[in-house]
């Protein structure tokens, strides 16, 4: 009989909604979101901290949710792709990805949009280099990044005008 592992009680706010849960210590944040809270917009790509498909915002900072324990998110505010849309209206970042054809299969897109979210929320006029640096932790195997890059430029432009 393996020794019983005590669960960790946590409280997190995800997309403005308060949740409490009791998690196994080894549960990863991405699994908490997907399997406990049914927020399957956050994807698992490489599962080794390389690809960034699982990127979410924790207290405003982009993190790879496959490389964090759910217990570490205790008390934090999480933003996932489901939290971008408000009252049926797409967030300017989402709209820009569509308008610029910044996605093809869409698997990496939630992670890319959250990485872009951190950038444009801190920098209203990101330079080309700054955009490239901001998404260096996100892998896309379809687009070749050019249209992703244009989408983030467009999103920054539209957010500044808003």
């Amino acid at each position: 009989m393996p020794e019983a592992i005590e669960k960790v009680p946590i409280r997190v706010t995800v997309n403005g909604k308060a949740y409490s849960a009791s998690v196994e210590p080894r549960m990863l944040l991405v699994e908490l979101l997907r399997e406990e809270f049914d927020l399957t917009g956050t994807h698992v790509g490489c599962d080794t901290s390389y690809c960034g498909a699982c990127t979410v915002l924790m207290n405003g900072a982009a993190v790879k949710s496959c490389t964090m324990l759910a217990a570490q998110a205790d008390g934090a505010e999480i933003l996932t792709v489901e939290g971008l849309e408000k009252n049926g209206t797409l967030h300017p970042i989402q709209k820009a990805f569509g308008d610029s054809y910044g996605l093809q299969c869409g698997y990496c897109t939630p992670g890319l949009m959250l990485a872009a979210f951190q950038l444009v929320s801190r920098n209203q006029e990101p330079s080309e280099t700054e955009i490239r640096k901001a998404i260096a932790g996100n892998t896309c195997r379809c687009t070749g990044y050019q249209n992703v890059f244009k989408a983030i430029q467009l999103a920054a432009h539209n957010l500044k005008g808003a």
Binding site: I5, P25, D47, Y50, A61, A62, V63, Q72, D74, G137
Partner: protein
């Protein structure tokens, strides 16, 4: 992928974390930023029975400028150092922090975790060995200060006892006429560099007074190029002395052939990186503002 099951302990202070380590024994590990440990646990290369989480310890992340020294709390994230104007007084610290992996990993990974892991491919030890750096440690027996050169013992091996942890990294601020630079060659952002070079110079006019050259990812620990330093020290930093430093770097390393490149390729690479880092360090030592970015294949 799930890590193997473990018991989770949340430390409220660094002192409590050290006590937990002594009580829980060798099967316990510290969780700082987790950007190396969690992937290792998911791959089951690391299977600690107990994890002591440091992320909820208050006041352990800071960058302070006190009495000519930069003091960095062990839990300071790479991103905090990247954006700190205090840390950027030593440009080489900014080069290092801003170039580690990607935004997401810099938001989580910590300077203390990186040094305590002592991965041969880690960036901080290579950079900080060019500085006068001391590691403040805490254990059940109390505090002690270890020079970084004695702290890093071998690959993944430090001077820390099992129940000791890093509380603070203390760096002597470089004097006037100083400049440093850190340049790494990488295949992509999230991966470790293929090779890297950190150079710190102090110049008086055209003459180099002090030089430190340390290479990363080309040995079990960072490699100090003492002959290269001697080639610069006391001389004008020009094509001739830089060529001598490059040759010394080429000779000083004994890299492994692996998926990142052959041993000969890496020797050629460190030599070129030393040239680039030395030239930038010299311009900075003369007061010029120079932006540095790692080189991507």
């Amino acid at each position: 992928m799930y890590p193997r099951s473990f018991h989770y302990h949340r430390a409220k202070s660094l002192k409590e974390a050290a006590t937990m380590l002594s009580q829980l024994g060798e099967e316990a590990k510290l969780l700082a930023g987790g950007q190396s440990l969690i992937p290792l646990m998911k791959l089951r290369f690391a299977n600690p029975a107990h994890l002591v989480d440091l992320n909820f310890v208050p006041d352990a992340a800071y960058v302070k400028d006190e009495a000519g020294k930069l003091r960095l709390g062990a839990l300071t994230r790479h991103a905090e150092i990247e954006h700190s104007t205090i840390a950027s007084q030593a440009s080489i610290l900014h080069d290092c922090a801003a170039g580690i992996a990607d935004v997401q990993i810099r938001n989580r990974g910590t300077i203390g975790g990186s040094l305590a892991e002592a991965d041969p491919s880690g960036d901080w030890a290579t950079v900080l060995l060019t500085q006068d750096t001391e590691i403040q440690c805490l254990g059940p027996a109390g505090e002690r200060k270890i020079p970084l050169s004695e702290f890093i013992r071998d690959a993944y091996t430090t001077a820390l006892e099992h129940d000791e942890l890093i509380t603070e990294v203390v760096i002597q601020k470089p004097g006037t006429g100083s400049g440093g630079a850190y340049v790494a060659f990488k295949r992509s952002a999230p991966v470790y560099p293929t090779a890297s070079a950190a150079v710190q110079l102090q110049v008086d006019g055209d003459i180099c007074r002090q030089a430190a050259i340390v290479l990363g990812c080309v040995g079990l620990t960072p490699v100090r190029v003492t002959e290269g330093e001697a080639a610069l020290r006391g001389h004008k930093v020009d094509g001739k002395s830089i060529t001598a430093a490059m040759e010394a770097a080429h000779a000083a390393v004994d890299p492994q052939t692996d998926m990142r490149g052959s041993a000969e390729y890496k020797r050629a690479l460190v030599s070129a990186l030393v040239k680039r880092a030395t030239e930038i360090a010299l311009r900075r030592a003369k007061g010029e503002r120079v932006e540095v970015s790692h080189i991507y294949a």
